[in-house]
Symmetry: C2
Subunit: 424 residues, 2 copies
């Protein structure tokens, strides 16, 4: 279906056909939900052994009684595991609580209140502070940036990461730039993996950027591959060492999509100097992380092999779901001018771009036919996609049967909205 | 031993006797630690059933899958329990993570950055912000206040709570006052319980104070009685309702000294308006609390009766330890002018006041004889006790035998330092 080349007559015929199809969907009164990038109950059950895995032994390998106070930065053995995941040294890691978003918020809030380099570098004391946001991106990154009163400027997300020409130009041109948001592997929502060249260019930004500039490297999907041949992300820390820019990057990851989404452990990795600065402020904000839950994670996932085995089980649950979404899109929209999407090799999303000006309408139509989608625009700062094209599809939670139903509705809505737009 | 009335000759004789006694202590090369108000391993073991108590059932009574994302403010059933402890309604409670200090920090940091009443009430936009700190008090309260750039002014802690004449005078006189720190039951470190009249007067402060003034009511020892006849704390929320000052108080408590010190759950209770404001900002800072650990707590402590039973077991472990500390003090210093202390009915501390100018010296002497004590001055803002008198003794962790040894050293050091001061 190519609406650009279609005659008005043809468009009218399609409109009538698709309206009937749409009404048929509506008549089934389905209640499907593709909004949230959260694990399914089946995935969560893979880690059900977490509760009880201590068998009454609450003592960590280094002798720490995990039940008591103490230990601001987490169990050393768990740092080691995180270090392997992120390609850093164990002493460059802080283990946090159940939310890496909290570590990101703290890094940003401490930068705002106290300065990433300590007194004199407080972002709050500057007239204006700007973060660069590749779009489409993750709504919670944008929301916390806005909450702290930080301005956002967008750059396009390409197939191999942010448009680095645009990022470098902003760093050169705009003296207020203090941050860059990145989800470098299986970017939320496009699913792209940053190329080695992009990772290297991001590591070099610290050479030209303001000393209080920081990359927020949210590696949420570091080990979340859908297949064994998935692409590898270059470790940014190695490039940073090469260019002497170790202080310019905060790396984050968590087990939220490895064990329990709401009850995992989170990690921050950065240079020893950044870490010292971060811990200095963290010490006032907590009595320390939940070390008992850290020990549970260490018992369930003692090493990288155990981690890989667990992630393979996740993949076996996720892969058919992604397959369902992609095959319905492929079948319904392959030969068309109605939209574009990527087939991600991992992560939690499929990102779909409609013809300009149609994302909101497609989400509305799908919602009213029983398939709830993430609000269009959510993937842009301030919730506003300038072109109104991007829709984030989250296949992890529904069953394959539900996904087939939801995506059939979706394809009908994309076609119907596109045809109606041409007719208007 | 009354040093004020003693002759120089007598003082010299004592000095020589006590020096020999002190050297005998030193010769034993003990390593005792009374610094930290943390539970002993025996106390922690009372809750060892926590890990594993879910038996694979992660679903909360209201149907929530606690493993997944969602639920910013915690499980409703746990709110109900906290509401009973604090004398509020369940919908006035937020359940947090493992650290009530984090909730306090967040309440203060949100007040600083965004204002306790929202835009226009930001503390950061005022020339100066002052918190009233009853002294001696809790070092971590003072540290976090200082961290946020808030000034501190002290008022004396009396046997029935803060000197309310002084507090009310400050509120009348100083327009920069925005906060008051309180540990209303078994105050850290004096162990006093605020009288009903004091609680009522604190609840009334909101009538005269600035609209952005808040009482930080850290009820850390709400159910931590050493005996069944322990005093009862008046519920401040009831007085606040009476005086229409519901927005002036944030109440905090946690299970840190009920279950696991480092892996419990924390609670904030306040007015619906404050709670809405708090949650608005909390939403950017976390994906939500660890609901799995909340459910564990609900299973272990389903109701007030279970809580009371658990606390009675704690008391049976703590009571002999307090007894040991108090009886050595009593025996060694009863008939003397060398110091004063209270016998608390609960909490975690015994607070001792030396003769003026001796606390630091006693802590030094005791440390060098093998009994490590909390640094003198820690119980005052900026770590400085103006009189250098207060020493906080924490009896919970050592065994009774260790406490007897440590307190014998302590008594020798108090005597020796006092005699030497008179001789100097």
């Amino acid at each position: 279906m190519y609406v650009d080349q279609a005659s008005t007559e043809q468009l009218r015929a399609w409109e009538s056909e698709l309206s009937a199809e749409y009404q048929a969907h509506q008549a089934r009164k389905l209640q499907l939900d593709l909004t949230r990038g959260k694990p399914s109950a089946e995935q969560l059950s893979l880690s059900n052994a977490l509760d009880g895995c201590l068998n009454g032994n609450y003592i960590a390998p280094d002798g720490t009684d995990t039940r008591n106070y103490g230990g601001l930065d987490g169990l050393p053995e768990l740092k080691r595991l995180a270090a392997e995941i992120l390609g850093v040294e164990a002493d460059e890691v802080v283990v946090g609580g159940n939310s890496s978003l909290t570590l990101m918020y703290q890094a940003a809030a401490f930068g705002w209140m106290f300065g990433p380099n300590g007194a004199g570098s407080e972002w709050s004391k500057e007239e204006k502070v700007t973060f660069i946001c590749p779009v489409p991106g993750y709504d919670r990154h944008f929301a916390l940036t806005q909450e702290l009163g930080i301005d956002m400027v967008t750059v396009p997300m390409l197939d191999d990461g942010p448009d680095m020409d645009a990022v470098e130009a902003l760093i050169e041109r705009d003296p207020t730039v203090r941050g860059l948001w990145c989800v470098p592997k299986y970017s939320n929502p496009t699913g792209c993996v940053y190329s080695d060249a992009t990772v290297e260019r991001i590591a070099r930004l610290g050479q030209k950027a303001h000393p209080a500039f920081r990359v927020f490297w949210d590696n949420a999907y570091a080990v979340h591959d859908l297949n064994p041949h998935a692409p590898r992300l270059a470790p940014i820390a190695a490039y940073c060492r090469q260019y002497g820019t170790e202080d310019s990057v905060y790396q984050f990851t968590s087990t939220s999509k490895i064990t329990f989404a709401g009850a995992g452990v989170s990690f921050l990795a950065t240079s020893p100097q950044n870490l010292a600065e971060f811990k200095k402020h963290l010490a006032f904000a907590t009595i320390g992380p939940d070390k008992v839950n850290q020990l549970r994670h260490l018992r369930l996932i003692p090493d990288m092999e155990a981690l890989r085995n667990l992630m393979a089980q996740h993949a076996s649950l996720l892969q058919p779901r992604f397959e369902a979404v992609l095959s319905v899109l492929e079948e319904g929209l392959r030969d068309s001018d109605l939209g574009s999407w990527l087939a991600p090799q991992g992560g939690y999303f499929v990102s779909f771009d409609t013809r300009p000006g149609l994302a909101r309408e497609v989400v509305r139509l799908a919602g009213e036919a029983g398939a709830k989608l993430t609000p269009a625009g959510a993937t842009f700062p301030y919730g506003k996609g300038p072109q109104d094209t991007n829709i984030r599809l989250a296949p992890s939670c529904p069953t394959v049967a539900e996904l087939n139903q939801a995506m059939a509705i979706f394809v009908t809505c994309v076609k119907l909205a596109s045809v109606r737009q041409r007719l208007a």
